[in-house]
């Protein structure tokens, strides 16, 4: 709550709307390049803190707001990677500490980075927004097809077809790229 003390109510509302609209996709994007969940969380937070502090964001139209958020996220990811590159030169104590806090440098993270999630994120990111939304409703919110159909004002059969096709697409992509485990 402290973070919003200096932002206006209207900006607060705008950021909330932008977060709800673009937060999931931005996180999906960030996680593709930042395997650590904690780092990704911090990065996403930084993106929206920058949005809160921005003087121009509210004056942009929706498309430019989206572009602005993606640009900031992209730059934050690059910054983070730059910081990682500098870390090996840090004192041993700091490196040791970093092993606890920073998954990118942790030995186990090297393995995890190649795990299915990273690959899966890449494939999911290539899906259409509607397919991604469908997967989110099914797997994050646990809704069944009939519930999703009601929510999206689609027929139950249309949702079933779209969901099964999306899953088969992901499945086949895995097989083709040999990433299946």
């Amino acid at each position: 709550m402290q973070l919003l003390k200096h932002s206006s109510l209207s900006n607060h509302s705008l950021i909330a709307e932008l977060y709800l609209q673009y937060g999931p996709a931005l996180l999906m994007y960030i996680r593709r390049y930042v395997p650590s969940r904690e780092d990704a969380e911090d990065l996403l937070l930084e993106v929206f803190l920058a949005a809160l502090e921005s003087d121009i964001l509210s004056s942009l139209d929706e498309r430019r707001q989206k572009s602005w958020l993606w640009s900031v996220a992209h730059n934050k990811v690059i910054d983070l990677h730059r910081r990682f590159k500098r870390r090996p030169a840090a004192p041993l104590e700091e490196v040791e500490e970093a092993l606890y806090d920073d998954d990118l440098l942790a030995p186990e993270a090297v393995t995890l980075r190649h795990e299915t999630h990273d690959v899966l994120r890449a494939h999911v990111s290539s899906l259409s927004e509607q397919q991604q939304k469908l997967l989110s409703l099914r797997f994050a919110h646990g809704l069944h097809c009939s519930e999703i159909a009601r929510l999206l004002n689609k027929s139950d059969s249309a949702i079933r077809v779209m969901l099964s096709r999306t899953l088969n697409l992901l499945r086949n992509t895995y097989k083709e790229s040999g990433e299946e485990k």
Binding site: Q2, L3, E62, Y100, L120, H141, H144, L151, R171
Partner: protein
């Protein structure tokens, strides 16, 4: 069957996913994908909820509910599939490092974090039900209404009405790209023997569906309520009204309310003025019916009979406000019972769509004298809880066509008879009803104004042979910032979204013939310069914009 050749099928995809989520050993590719998707999205939902909390953006969100979903799902799962990725990392870390003191601290922090997350979950369990029931309100983002004072923003982004300019006319409804002006789709009304026999009363966007009330002047086509897929323009369902005219449409909580009047109505208002609160309407020779439909499938949910001829419907805060020929009524949306009734007397009463702002209902009441043919009108404010009149303006010698409420002001356009037409725009203090300013315009303001960013936008119509004007006025003093000319025949409120003013005009002849081709025009809100113009439906008479 070889598991590696199994496919997800539409008929059983839900059951397949549920079974695969329960699978302890994800040996098949399908199980692998399903379990990883579940982990991935659950993990993201938790992260999104945490960032939402850290930003202090509110309590009840889809993300906090998603945390709950993730947690409960984990609880149902067993074995390896229960372990979230970051938990796996921790386990690997234990294997590498044993029980170091730092790990103990880390674990303690993790436990505290888990408790905090669990605390966030409390109170959010009804979210899924909420989004299902509230999805019908998700499309309330149509340009002008979104900016009206007192309107609540919907923070559930799951179902949004696709952006576009939705224009309805005498031959159908079209969706136009807001940026380019290109038509995305058009739904055509049935052909009639004579053009101009059909028109679009109102367009209501809810989620991915556009609801349209189509009125008819011909026996061959019945007035119809249409539900159209906003993405594709395809008809989802429709309901014909065989013996009634479809007057107005309102929506609340996934229910559409269609106000209808009998076809051959001869509405004679009550002769005595009723009392304002708690009294039933005085007897009227006409009763009208409000039908309630499930917005999703169009099935009739209920119907309510009201006295008088319905003029307008407006839904807010669990109440349906009815402007009728004999007065104003408030009905409970839960049971349809009348909450209050305020009588309005007059020979020919017209009431424009009420605007509900901070528990006050603002509307205009016009009364046309049958003998003199002149109209006297007022702007008035009523308590939404009791129907008690809070204030009314001095009488205006004009018919009034609609108001806008914003920045603690009520804006109303006026029209005076004569050739060419004259009129203007007035602003009233929303609290006291005191007139703040009155700016004459070179034409009659026949459509409700719209307000955005300190500017009020109107159209002013003089006569067919003259161009029509779209004007932008400063809301504080009524000074004109700019005015531009467009082809005469505007029959819609200028609607402002994202710095663009959209109007639809029937072109020359539209007001006479009723069947002239129409155009939709986008103007820059800053100076009125034209961005694009495009052919749209014939004689456009309803327009909404979703940004």
């Amino acid at each position: 069957m070889d598991k590696h050749n199994e496919q997800f099928t539409p008929e059983t995809v839900d059951e397949q996913i549920d079974d695969l989520l329960q699978s302890q050993l994800p040996t098949s590719p399908d199980a692998h994908i399903v379990q990883n998707l579940h982990r991935l999205y659950s993990e993201d939902a938790v992260t999104l909820g945490r960032v939402w909390q850290r930003l202090g953006l509110g309590e009840h969100t889809s993300f906090t509910q998603a945390i709950h979903q993730a947690e409960t799902s984990q609880g149902r799962m067993t074995g390896q599939s229960r372990i979230l990725p970051y938990e796996r990392k921790r386990r690997m870390f234990v294997e590498h490092n044993g029980n170091s003191p730092k790990l103990q601290i880390w674990r303690s922090i993790a436990v505290i974090a888990a408790v905090l997350i669990a605390a966030i979950l409390v109170g959010s369990t009804l979210w899924v039900f909420n989004i299902v029931t509230n999805s019908s309100q998700g499309g309330a983002s149509a340009g002008q209404s979104e900016r009206s004072q007192g309107q609540q923003q919907n923070h559930q982004p799951v179902v949004q009405t696709p952006s576009g300019v939705y224009v309805g006319g005498s031959d159908g409804i079209a969706r136009i790209d807001t940026q380019t002006g290109k038509q995305i789709w058009k739904y055509s009304y049935p052909n009639t023997n004579f053009p101009g026999m059909l028109f679009t009363r109102k367009i209501v966007p809810i989620g991915n569906t556009i609801y349209v009330s189509m009125q008819s002047f011909t026996q061959s086509v019945k007035p119809t309520l249409l539900a159209i897929d906003a993405q594709t323009g395809k008809l989802l369902w429709s309901h014909e009204f065989a013996h009634a005219t479809l007057v107005d449409l309102a929506a609340a909580d996934g229910i559409l309310y269609a106000g209808t009047n009998p076809v051959s109505q001869n509405i004679i208002p009550p002769t005595k003025k009723g009392k304002s609160t708690g009294q039933l309407p005085a007897p009227s020779t006409t009763t009208s019916t409000i039908y309630a439909f499930n917005a999703i499938d169009g099935k009739q949910h209920d119907s309510y009979t009201v006295s008088g001829g319905i003029k307008t419907l407006s839904a807010a805060n669990g109440t349906l406000y009815v402007g009728a020929s004999n007065g104003l009524q408030a009905l409970s949306l839960s049971d349809g019972k009348q909450i209050w009734y305020t009588a309005i007397s007059g020979q020919q009463v017209d009431i424009t769509t009420p605007h509900i702002v901070n528990d006050v209902m603002y509307t205009t009441i016009s009364n046309v004298s049958e003998l003199a043919g002149q109209s006297t009108a007022i702007v008035a404010a009523f308590k939404t809880s009791t129907g008690e009149k809070l204030w009314q303006s001095d009488p205006i010698q004009s018919e009034l066509f609609g108001i806008a409420v914003a920045n603690n002001k009520v804006f109303v356009g006026t029209m005076t008879d004569g050739t060419p037409f004259k009129g203007g725009l007035r602003a009233y203090d929303a609290q006291s009803g005191k007139q703040l300013w009155n700016t004459p315009l070179d034409g009659a303001v026949e459509w409700a104004p719209s307000v955005d960013n300190g500017v009020v936008y109107v159209s002013a119509y003089a006569e067919l042979t003259k161009p029509e004007e779209v004007a932008a006025l400063n809301i504080n003093d009524g000074s004109i910032k700019w005015h531009v000319q467009v082809p005469a025949g505007i029959m819609t409120t200028p609607t402002v979204v994202n710095g663009v003013v959209y109007v639809s005009t029937g072109n020359t002849g539209a007001k006479v013939a009723g069947n002239a081709s129409g155009a939709t025009i986008a103007l820059k809100a800053t100076d009125g310069s034209q961005i694009w113009t495009t052919a749209s439906t014939s004689s456009p008479d309803a327009l909404i914009v979703v940004g």
